[in-house]
């Protein structure tokens, strides 16, 4: 470990995330021994006891690479990623939340007050006659425990600090992580801003690729819980929304191997500006129906377009957050 000053230093940190990205590092399995052999992990709260003060004490740029997962929402997360940016030569946005906002970014559709009101007052199991809400500073008999402040919206990492590379996915696969680490250690770095995954659409690596019709003609969209799913046939050809055409490959079609549609966690390829818009335009141009009423009926099969087309990307897309009166 730190006994060997020759080894390059690497750090992992999490922001607003679920821990799946951390788990994907552990899922390196046998390869984690290779990583521990080649690098010195100097900060990794899920698995190691180094504290913030240890990071503060490090010289600037002394960490070769820091991989940050999770979206950015609190003052504490901002401070930590700014600190880690200063200490690191290379900063990598690791996973869908850090890359695009991820599932927590779906909150950008709601006002903060709506959330507060529900969580601390209206939720059916809450009893809160005093109307208590968590506070940045609590005054408790001379003691003042503090909490970080929450910002307006959920942001991706590059909306807060300068980012060098991106590893996509919810979560990224251990295979992609291993490849990225090997590239970093080789010293032959790709151009800044590179997404460290294949730049192809998921359809290209889908095992059902051969059954994808050149022209899909949608007469209805099926919700997966109400219909049987053929385990061989292209999901779009069966009428299920599968985000494959608008989504970057690299996961090796994991969800489809589980006989469920792709929900788009790897984000768009470099040729697509907006993942949701791309999928929406692809779906609309392939509608069999031409009459308005008929089109509406078909679209009833997609009751939640934002959650369907932008499930992981609401921080970084053409849609802005919901504007609510009084904010």
């Amino acid at each position: 470990m730190s006994a060997n000053p020759e080894k390059p230093k690497v750090a992992f940190y999490w922001c607003a995330s679920c821990g799946g990205c951390e788990e994907s590092v552990v899922d390196l399995a046998e390869d984690i021994l290779m990583v521990l052999d080649k690098v010195d992990i100097v900060f990794w709260p899920v698995a190691m006891d180094f504290k913030k003060a240890d990071v503060v004490a490090m010289p600037d740029k002394s960490i070769l690479a820091t991989l940050v997962n999770g979206a950015i929402r609190t003052s504490e997360q901002e401070e930590m990623v700014q600190l880690l940016r200063r200490k690191s030569q290379v900063l990598i946005a690791y996973g869908a939340c850090s890359h695009l906002g991820g599932i927590p970014a779906l909150t950008n559709e709601f006002s903060r007050e709506e959330v507060l009101q529900y969580v601390y007052h209206d939720a059916p199991s809450v009893v809160n006659k005093e109307g208590t809400r968590p506070q940045p500073v609590t005054e408790d008999e001379g003691r003042n425990p503090t909490l970080p402040e929450f910002r307006n919206v959920v942001r991706s990492l590059d909306q807060v600090v300068d980012v060098d590379y991106y590893l996509p996915g919810c979560a990224p696969t251990p295979k992609l992580l291993k490849e990225a680490l090997l590239v970093l250690l080789s010293g032959e770095l790709p151009p800044k801003g590179t997404v460290l995954a294949p730049d192809i659409a998921l359809c290209d690596e889908c095992p059902r690729k051969d059954s994808k019709p050149t022209d899909v003609s949608f007469t209805e969209f099926k919700r997966p819980h109400l219909h049987r799913i053929d385990p061989e046939l292209c999901l779009l050809a069966q009428g299920f929304i599968c985000m494959g055409p608008a989504t970057r490959g690299g996961c090796e079609a994991l969800c489809i191997n589980g006989n469920m549609p792709c929900t788009g966690c790897f984000g768009p390829t470099s040729r697509v500006k907006d993942q949701g818009a791309k999928m929406l335009s692809s779906v609309s141009s392939n509608m069999a129906a031409k009459e308005e009423n008929e089109i509406d009926r078909v679209l009833d099969g997609i009751p939640d377009p934002v959650g369907t087309f932008y499930r992981y990307g609401l921080s970084k897309c053409l849609l802005r957050r919901k504007v609510t009166a009084g904010e």
């Binding site: 951390e22 899922d27 046998e30 929402r73 199991s125």
Partner: protein, 507 residues
């Protein structure tokens, strides 16, 4: 000890003491080797003893609110993002809530596939805690230098070969989950009335082999626990010490014989003397569980409705309860498989009978549960129905309200959905394992801080022992932070000596 390790060690002690001298306040930030963010804020009094310790969850997300307006069938995948370490628990609780929402029974084969995946998940998740998160405190030692109190130190201690065996076992179990669930982090198998994918006959033999190895792995882990922990008097003293002990209620999911079941059953609560207090189904959870709000943490604190919230105190008059391995063993009358039952009996015999109130006994209880999970995997894979292709009943009923419960590795997990006729969510309530435990964890951290920090004497090892008080629960703060508040007004209260509010100032 290595020189650089020694100097870091000395420096950490110096820093901690300097911090105390300056402010009489010790902040452990971030707390480590747990899932998600956490902070401990300790305030000392004039004599340097602990006045108060706050165990805080410093962030939150917004699942209950941002799920609204979305199709209920997306919930098994959306809520799995509450936690990527226990995604299968949220995935399964949500799937079961969908069964209830659409009033559709999963086919018998689908239920077995789900339970198989679920037990595989419980086994690998418990193994993660034993070997990577909590275990290093015992395997390497609570006072070992922080550089070594982790998976690297564990591998050094048990040897690379054993380390590799543990890593490979965990990988194989996770491959089984990925085989059925597509992804292992955030699986996709759950649909109301069944599963998306089953098990092919030609793959069965390999999986049966895996289950056999899982049982051996669990036995091996129990042996390690015996050798390293139970044979060490210091550790046994630590486990049974007063500042890691709380007399509270205990909750867990049980089968019809009151044996621990992770996937299905009724919820059973016992009192601090081990006597049954209540039994209820998921659909009745609101009659039994309530949440209390404090201003110094984003997590809400659960308590038993029938007893009530009495503040951060233990005992039969306080509604604080525990979930997770120790609580499940306390709330049950045994384990449903033979090796686990034997380990269960030994657990209570050595620790002086039921219920066991020692927080650190969670580590041992976790290993007992690993045995059950492995044995249950074996039972299910030996059931011929496990390869049946009858995997789904398609819903036909109109949805309205659905509730689901499972035992997550960290304890009882409730999902509650309400929808319109089209299955679009109109209300969501989630009570996650770590929330159930939040009040008892706060008690544990404060008791450990008070018991360990005296006259301002602080060192890194002592602070780590304070962290051990929560680590035993294997808390998941990612889960605990599933709800998200927005901008918080700063409110200051001016109180008189009796604590009554005289004036309220708002920013």
């Amino acid at each position: 000890m290595d020189k650089s390790v020694q100097s870091t060690w000395d420096q950490a002690q110096k820093n901690a003491n300097a911090d105390y001298m300056a402010k009489r306040r010790i902040v452990i930030d971030p707390i480590t080797r747990l899932e998600g963010h956490g902070k401990i804020d300790i305030f000392l009094n004039k004599t340097g003893d602990v006045d108060r310790a706050y165990f805080q969850v410093p962030e939150l997300r917004g699942f209950e609110v941002f799920s609204l307006g979305r199709p209920a069938e997306d919930m098994p995948q959306i809520t799995s993002r509450i936690c990527g370490v226990c995604p299968t628990a949220h995935h399964m609780a949500a799937t079961k809530a969908l069964d209830d929402l659409y009033k559709v029974e999963p086919t018998s084969a689908a239920k077995k596939v789900r339970e198989l995946v679920y037990n595989a998940f419980m086994l690998e998740d418990h193994a993660l805690h034993v070997y990577i998160l909590g275990g290093p405190d015992f395997i390497v030692g609570p006072d070992a230098p922080p550089e070594l109190r982790n998976v690297v130190g564990v591998i050094q201690k048990v040897g690379v070969d054993v380390g590799k065996q543990v890593i490979s076992m965990r990988r194989r179990i996770r491959e089984l989950i990925a085989y059925v669930g597509g992804k292992v982090i955030h699986p996709v198998l759950g649909l109301p009335g069944g599963v998306a994918k089953g098990i092919a006959k030609e793959d069965l033999a390999g999986l049966q082999e895996l289950a056999k190895d899982c049982v051996e792995f669990a036995k091996f882990t129990l042996q390690i626990f015996h050798d390293i922990v139970l044979k060490n008097e210091e550790y046994v003293k630590l486990i049974t010490s007063e500042y890691y002990t709380h007399r509270t209620y205990y909750m867990g999911l049980m089968d019809e014989n009151n044996k621990v079941n992770f996937y299905d059953g009724k919820i059973r609560v016992v009192d601090p003397d081990g006597k049954p207090l209540s039994e209820f189904r998921a659909q009745e959870y609101l009659d039994h569980v309530q949440e209390h709000v404090e201003s110094w943490s984003y997590v809400k604190f659960c308590y038993l409705k029938e007893v009530g919230w009495k503040g951060f105190v233990d005992g039969a008059d306080s509604g604080i309860y525990a979930v997770a391995p120790l609580a499940r063993l306390n709330a049950s009358e045994g384990m449903a498989t033979p090796l686990a039952q034997k380990a269960y009996e030994e657990f209570f015999e050595v620790l002086g009978g039921k219920p066991v109130h020692h927080t650190l006994a969670n580590h041992w209880a976790r290993v007992v549960e690993m045995l059950y999970a492995a044995e249950r995997m074996q039972e299910l894979l030996n059931d011929p129905e496990i390869t049946s292709k009858d995997l789904r009943n398609i819903p036909t009923e109109k949805p309205s309200v659905g509730m689901g419960v499972v035992e997550a590795p960290r304890g009882t997990l409730f999902h509650h959905f309400e929808t319109d006729d089209n299955g679009i969510l109109t209300k969501v309530n989630l009570i996650v394992a770590t929330q159930n435990n939040a009040a008892r964890m706060a008690l544990s951290v404060e008791a450990a801080a008070k018991g360990l920090i005296k006259k301002g004497e602080v060192n890194e090892g002592l602070l780590n022992k304070v962290e051990m008080a929560f680590r035993a629960y294997d808390p998941c703060h990612a889960c605990a932070s599933h709800s998200l508040p927005g901008k918080m007004p700063l409110i200051a209260y001016i109180r008189n000596a009796e604590g009554e509010i005289l004036q309220e100032l708002r920013r």
